[in-house]
């Protein structure tokens, strides 16, 4: 399977990414990390951390940058036929425990032709 995982600068996204990496190590799936531009963290910083995880786990993975609209860019990249699955983080919880999906996740769920996995 060819897996694309989207990562903005949040800790949730990195946690989801690390889980995907651990799984890829077991399954041998192909992995591509898509760095999403966000207000939270600079793309260079995100990419450095992503490469540290990849190198630390000793797996092969491609790293791509998404410029512009995060959801649109992820959907375009996932749907170009190359990927079987798009993974994004599963959202944060409100004070009462309700799950809140960020706008990028909502966009991806509604618009991607590729199957989407929310990593929790």
């Amino acid at each position: 399977m060819n897996v694309l995982v989207g990562i903005d600068g949040t800790e949730r996204a990195f946690a989801a990414f690390e889980r995907v990496v651990a799984r890829v190590k077991e399954t041998g799936d192909d992995l591509t990390a898509a760095i999403v531009a966000s207000e939270i963290e600079r793309p260079d910083t995100i990419e450095r951390r992503v490469r540290e995880v990849i190198d630390g786990e000793g797996i092969e993975a491609a790293v791509r940058r998404i410029e512009g609209h995060a959801g649109g860019g992820l959907v375009d990249l996932a749907d170009d036929g190359e990927f079987d699955r798009l993974v994004v983080d599963g959202g944060e919880r409100s004070p009462t425990g309700k799950i809140r999906l960020d706008p990028t996740t909502e966009f991806v769920l509604l618009n991607a032709e590729t199957s989407v996995t929310l990593a929790r």
Partner: protein
Amino acid sequence: MSRSYPDDSVGPFERPPETFTDAHAREIEISVYDDEEFAALAEMYVAFDPADRAQGIPPANEGAIDEWLDTILASGYDVVAYHGDACVGHATLVADSDGAHELAIFVLDTHQAAGIGSRLLEALLGHAGREGTERVWLTVERWNQTAIALYRKVGFGTCDTESFEMEMAIRL
């Protein structure tokens, strides 16, 4: 996160405790939650109809219910509704990081559409308002017109948001 609250305050609402007869002639008692009632409250959530879960709460399994209750009961205010010895409703305010409170309300499926939710909501706002709470917000799924109508009736106004959920707020 910046959230817009109505300029005008609503209330004050009646404080609990109160006893009333619901739409099915059942005697219902509403009171401020006490820690000694944890078991009764947890039991209500174990019996909760999975179809009535919304936005990921309440959790499905018992261990997760206790953990979730510990979290939401740790801050803010809680009122509960009893029918006899059984807890049949719970309304909670949980403190956010901005000095405001998020609201959530739950009524057991056997006791829905009987006026209990409305009483619970007003009792919670009456209690919290007297304790000094000013800003309360909630999110609700856009298709859930029953809940949205209930919140509107009490005085919640609709905030922005283009997301899956609608956000509403009230000033006490």
